[in-house]
C-alpha cells in the first residue's frame, strides 16, 4: 500500500523519523516526539512534509464553471490569489472530500487529500461533460511543505522574490525561490499562522533544510493530527465520509446554497433535519477516547467518537464525534466507553483551541 514516497522520504529516514503508511504514502509520524513537535508549532515554528497531498490544476475557458459545479463553496466570488476551503459532494450530499481551491490569474488549482486523489480525479473527469477544462495531476512533480506556528512569518521573510509576509490568511502567490517557480499560500492545518509551499521536486530538500536552518522544527503526521484536533479541524476518514453531509459536519459555512446548482445541492435541500451533528467533547481525567469509542447517555449508546487524544498544548483529553440533536447541545453530559471503563464527558464548544491573533 504505502509505496509512494515524497522527495523528502530519504531525508526523513536518514533523520530517524518513525515512518507510517498514510493514504498510500510512507510518511513520517514523528522525529523526536509528538508532544515536543506539537509544542514547537504552538510556540515557534514546525515544518511538515505534506507532499502526499494531491495537487491538481484546472485550465481552459470553462475551469471556473466546472469548479463551481462540483465544489460547495463559491468560486466566482474568489479574488485572484484567494484560497477557499470547501467540499466535493456525491449525489446524496455525502462528502467525497474536503479540498482547497486556489484562484490564479489564468487558472485554478486544488489541494485534495492524499487518500482521495484517485477517487476525486475519477469523479471530476466523470462530471466534466462538455465543459472545456483541462485537469492535470501535478502531485508527482512537486513537493509541498508546510511551515506552521507563530514564528513562521519571520522564517519565510525575505526568502522569496515576493514578500509573502504581506499575504493575507487564505491567500496565495506564485513567486520564485532562487529563480525557481514556487507557490506560497498562507494556509495550514494546525490552527496556527503559517505557510504552505509548493516547489519542484529537486528543490524539496534544499527548501526543507533552509527552513530548518532558520529554526523550524521537523514535525510528523502525529503532531499534525493532535494540532488539527485541538483546532477542531475535521479529518477525512474520521469526521468526514461519504455517509456524512456538510451540515452534520458543521461545515455549512463552506456550502453556498445560493450560488446556483452544484453536485449534492439537491440532496442537501431535501435532507432529513434530524441527523447527528459533529460535536466537541471534553473528557474527565487524562485517558483518551479513540475513534470508535461509544458515547452513552441515559443508559444507552447514542453516538460515536471519530477522533480523540490527550492533547499536548491544552493538556486535556478531548474528542470529536457525532451525536443526535437531543444530546448535541453544549453542556450535555455523557459517558464515553474506554474499553469497558465509562468515563464522564461533556459536550463543549468547538474549536477547543484558538490562536491569539495580533
Amino acid at each position: 500500500m504505502a509505496d509512494l514516497r515524497t522527495p523528502l522520504h530519504a531525508w526523513h529516514v536518514a533523520h530517524k523519523a518513525r515512518m507510517v503508511a498514510f493514504g498510500g504514502w510512507d510518511m513520517p509520524v514523528q522525529y523526536v516526539g509528538i508532544i515536543e513537535e506539537h509544542k514547537a508549532v504552538r510556540g515557534g515554528a514546525g515544518l511538515f512534509d505534506i507532499g502526499h497531498m494531491a495537487r491538481l490544476s484546472f485550465t481552459g475557458p470553462d475551469a471556473l464553471a466546472f469548479l463551481e459545479s462540483v465544489f460547495t463553496n463559491s468560486v466566482a466570488s474568489m479574488k485572484v490569489g484567494q484560497v477557499r476551503y470547501g467540499l466535493i459532494l456525491n449525489d446524496r450530499g455525502g462528502i467525497l472530500d474536503d479540498i482547497l481551491v486556489y484562484r490564479f490569474r489564468d487558472h485554478f488549482e486544488a489541494v485534495v487529500n492524499a487518500g482521495n486523489r484517485e477517487k476525486i480525479l475519477d469523479w471530476l473527469k466523470q462530471h466534466l461533460g462538455e465543459l472545456d477544462c483541462n485537469i492535470v495531476d501535478h502531485t508527482f512533480e512537486t513537493v509541498m511543505i508546510a511551515i506552521q506556528g507563530p514564528q513562521s512569518v519571520a522564517m519565510v521573510d525575505g526568502l522569496f522574490a515576493d514578500d509573502v509576509s504581506k499575504l493575507k490568511y487564505y491567500f496565495a502567490t506564485q513567486t520564485t525561490w532562487s529563480g525557481h517557480a514556487v507557490t506560497v499560500s498562507r494556509t495550514g492545518y494546525t490552527g496556527e499562522d503559517g505557510f504552505e509551499i509548493v516547489i519542484p521536486n529537486a528543490l524539496g530538500v534544499p527548501m526543507w533544510e533552509t527552513l530548518i536552518a532558520k529554526g523550524a522544527v521537523p514535525c510528523g503526521l502525529g503532531s499534525r493530527d493532535t494540532l488539527r484536533l485541538e483546532a477542531a479541524m475535521p479529518l477525512y476518514g474520521h469526521e468526514l465520509s461519504e455517509q456524512i453531509d456538510p451540515i452534520q459536519a458543521k461545515l455549512e459555512w463552506a456550502v453556498k446554497m445560493d450560488k446556483g446548482d452544484f453536485l449534492g445541492r439537491a440532496a442537501l435541500l431535501n435532507r432529513l433535519p434530524a441527523l447527528p451533528d459533529r460535536v466537541g467533547l471534553l473528557l474527565e481525567g487524562k485517558r483518551a477516547a479513540r475513534e470508535g469509542s461509544m458515547l452513552f447517555a441515559e443508559g444507552s449508546a447514542v453516538g460515536i467518537v471519530t477522533s480523540g487524544s490527550y492533547v499536548p498544548h491544552l493538556q486535556q483529553s478531548i474528542a470529536m464525534g457525532y451525536l443526535p440533536k437531543n444530546f448535541s447541545p453544549v453542556g450535555t453530559e455523557l459517558l464515553v466507553d474506554l474499553r469497558g471503563t465509562k468515563v464522564p464527558a461533556t459536550v463543549v464548544w468547538l474549536p477547543f483551541y484558538t490562536r491569539s491573533k495580533n
Binding site: 509520524v29 514523528q30 516526539g33 509528538i34 508532544i35 506539537h38 502525529g222 493530527d225 493532535t226 481525567g285 487524562k286 485517558r287 483518551a288 479513540r290 487524544s309 490527550y310 492533547v311 499536548p312 474506554l338 474499553r339
Partner: protein, 127 residues
C-alpha cells in the same frame, strides 16, 4: 538492543524480575518507544489476583492505548506510585525507576513460558 539479561520477557512486551516470592513487572524499552511518550497510566488495584495474560494496567500515549498484561500469576502487592505521578520515569527508565507493579507469587512459579533477553531481542529485531 539493550534488554537486560537478568529479566524475562512476555511477547506482549512486559518484563518480569523474580526475587524469591516477589516479582517486579514493567514494560520494555521497545514497548515505550513504539507507544511514544506516555500520557496516561493506570495500574491494577492492590490485592488483585491475576493469572497469566490478565490485564494489570493501561498505558496511553497521544497516539494509542495499550493494555499491560501480567506475565505470571500472583497478587498485586505494590504499585509504583512515583511512576503513576511522573510518567517520564516509565519513558526514560522502563527497566529501572519506571517499573510498574510488584506481585506476590508462588516461589515455585514457572517462568518457562517467557522469553529470555536473547529470544526477546530476536522477537523485536527488524522493527
Amino acid at each position: 538492543m539493550t534488554n537486560p539479561t537478568d529479566l524475562k520477557y512476555a511477547q506482549s512486551h512486559e518484563w518480569v524480575k523474580l526475587a524469591g516470592d516477589i516479582a517486579t513487572i514493567g514494560v520494555t524499552k521497545f514497548a515505550v518507544e513504539q507507544l511514544t511518550e506516555p500520557t496516561f497510566l493506570e495500574l491494577a488495584k492492590l490485592g488483585k489476583s491475576v493469572k497469566v495474560a490478565d490485564e494489570i494496567g493501561v498505558i496511553e500515549s497521544v497516539k494509542s492505548t495499550s493494555s499491560i498484561y501480567s506475565p505470571i500469576p500472583g497478587d498485586v502487592i505494590e504499585v509504583n506510585k512515583a511512576a503513576l505521578e511522573n510518567l517520564a520515569l516509565v519513558n526514560d527508565d522502563p527497566f529501572g525507576a519506571g517499573w510498574l507493579l510488584k506481585l506476590k507469587v508462588n516461589p515455585d512459579v514457572s517462568l518457562d513460558h517467557l522469553l529470555d533477553a536473547t529470544q526477546y531481542d530476536a522477537q523485536i529485531a527488524g522493527h
